[in-house]
């Protein structure tokens, strides 16, 4: 059904998305926690910053990533000294995906943390559990369906990432050409309608599957289910 190259594109897309989501998950959770529970100066600003990639044109996000992680950028120079370069590499595509998926992940995780009944946490304290134990035995398990839903949603979002990726790491077959970029490239070529259709259907199937999983997880929230 698919050519070997097309399987390669799917594998690359899955790799880029998985690495981006797993890499950024701890930071997303920390942000969600700070926004749900924190009472600190600059909370509104953090909230706005987190949501920025959701409303900025993706091409602007990609350009900002270029400025920061390009050879002359502050982060790019620092990483360059360590021998790491993200430009035109699949790792750069993963970074772009992570940034674009970040707001969705934080939103979902934040809602699930806010939904945890804090009276259960105080009950656990009276039963002899210190703050960290309460977090791991009560808060995290109760928030877990929402946290996982956030991960799956972020994964789906990053499978579809286009604008920031093509701006930041370009469209290089075998290195940064993920599914949406491959569809775009195929569209530019006359006579490749069949390839476009196959890749587009595949893209729909992957996204739909991720959304169904995410929705199923979100429904388990608040019912006391734990996976």
């Amino acid at each position: 059904m698919l050519t070997p190259e097309e399987w390669g594109i799917v594998a690359l897309s899955l790799k880029v998305s998985a690495v981006s989501i797993l890499g950024v998950a701890p930071l997303a959770f920390a942000c969600a926690w700070a926004l749900a529970r924190g009472r600190f100066f600059g909370r509104v600003l953090l909230d706005a910053l987190v949501h920025l990639p959701l409303v900025l044109p993706p091409v602007v996000t990609g350009w900002l990533l270029l400025l920061a992680f390009g050879a002359q950028g502050f982060a790019g120079r620092w990483l360059g000294e360590l021998g790491i370069t993200l430009m035109f590499r699949w790792t750069g595509a993963a970074l772009a995906c992570a940034v674009m998926a970040f707001p969705l992940m934080v939103r979902s995780m934040r809602l699930s943390i806010e939904a945890v009944d804090r009276r259960l946490e105080s009950a656990a304290r009276t039963l002899g559990a210190g703050p960290w134990r309460v977090f791991f035995s009560i808060t995290l398990p109760l928030a877990m369906p929402g946290v996982l839903a956030g991960l799956v949603l972020g994964f789906a979002r990053s499978l579809g990432e286009f604008g920031a990726t093509i701006t930041f790491v370009s469209n290089i077959p075998g290195e940064t050409q993920t599914l949406p970029l491959a569809i775009y490239a195929a569209l530019q070529m006359p006579g490749s309608e069949d390839a476009v259709t196959r890749l587009a259907l595949l893209s729909v199937a992957l996204s739909l599957g991720a959304l169904v999983v995410s929705e199923a997880l979100a429904r388990r929230m608040g019912r006391g289910h734990v996976l």
């Binding site: 009944d117 009276r119 259960l120 105080s122 009950a123 656990a124 304290r125 009276t126 039963l127 002899g128 559990a129 210190g130 134990r133 035995s137 009560i138 398990p141 109760l142 019912r223 006391g224 289910h225 734990v226």
Partner: protein, 207 residues
């Protein structure tokens, strides 16, 4: 075995100020709703910090603003039976019961799972999830969970308020047995005069 409580909590317009020394048995906090009875229990459990004062239970200083002592909730040995029972929804009844027991030091444990189940008649509920318990069953499990955490004293916040008359009678009998057989000091909040008269050896008016 006794309570020595003398605390002030500033709370918007009305301060909560109570001062009492309880003897053995049940000390009831009695008063209209909104007077701050639950706040007093929260202060004993360490969930709310008093602005000023001193809390001593059975000779152990739990809070003293003058000496800068404020024991965290997990170190107080306070078995809190909440009005809304607060069982952990993601754990089975058995895991709920063992939650505090596992965290208690061996020398703090004074009752086993078998003894607790026999005492409260909840052995048949162990495998269930809290959402599959009736109101009376949930309240018995909540009391059991507090005992098994190695509680040195109990605070109970209107434990009968959500129950029908038959269940009420049943739980009241149970509380009397905790008072008489287990000899735990109990601080008991209620706004029901009949309940207080039957259970308490001392009544403290709040508000």
């Amino acid at each position: 075995m006794s309570f020595e409580v003398d605390v002030i909590l500033r709370r918007g317009e009305a301060d909560v100020a109570v001062c009492f020394s309880g003897t053995a048995g049940i000390t009831a906090l009695f008063g209209r709703s909104g007077a701050g009875k639950t706040s007093v229990l929260d202060m004993l459990a360490g969930l709310v910090r008093p602005d000023k004062g001193r809390i001593v239970v059975s000779g152990q200083v739990l809070f003293d603003s003058a000496l800068g002592i404020n024991q965290p909730p997990e170190a107080r040995g306070c078995g809190y039976v909440f009005q809304d029972h607060r069982l952990f929804p993601h754990l089975s009844v058995e895991s709920n019961l063992l939650y505090g027991w596992r965290r208690a030091r061996p020398d703090q444990r004074w009752i086993t799972l078998e003894e607790t189940c026999a005492f409260l008649g909840i052995g048949h509920l162990l495998a269930r999830r809290p959402r599959h318990l009736s109101g009376g069953e949930a309240q018995r499990v909540a009391i059991a969970r507090a005992l098994m955490a190695g509680a040195r004293f109990l605070v109970m916040d209107e434990p009968l308020s959500s129950l029908d008359a038959a269940r009420r009678e049943e739980i009241m009998g149970l509380i009397e047995r905790i008072r008489d057989d287990l000899r735990l000091p109990i601080l008991y909040v209620s706004h029901d005069r009949a309940e207080v008269e039957r259970l308490a050896s001392m009544v403290v008016q709040v508000g």
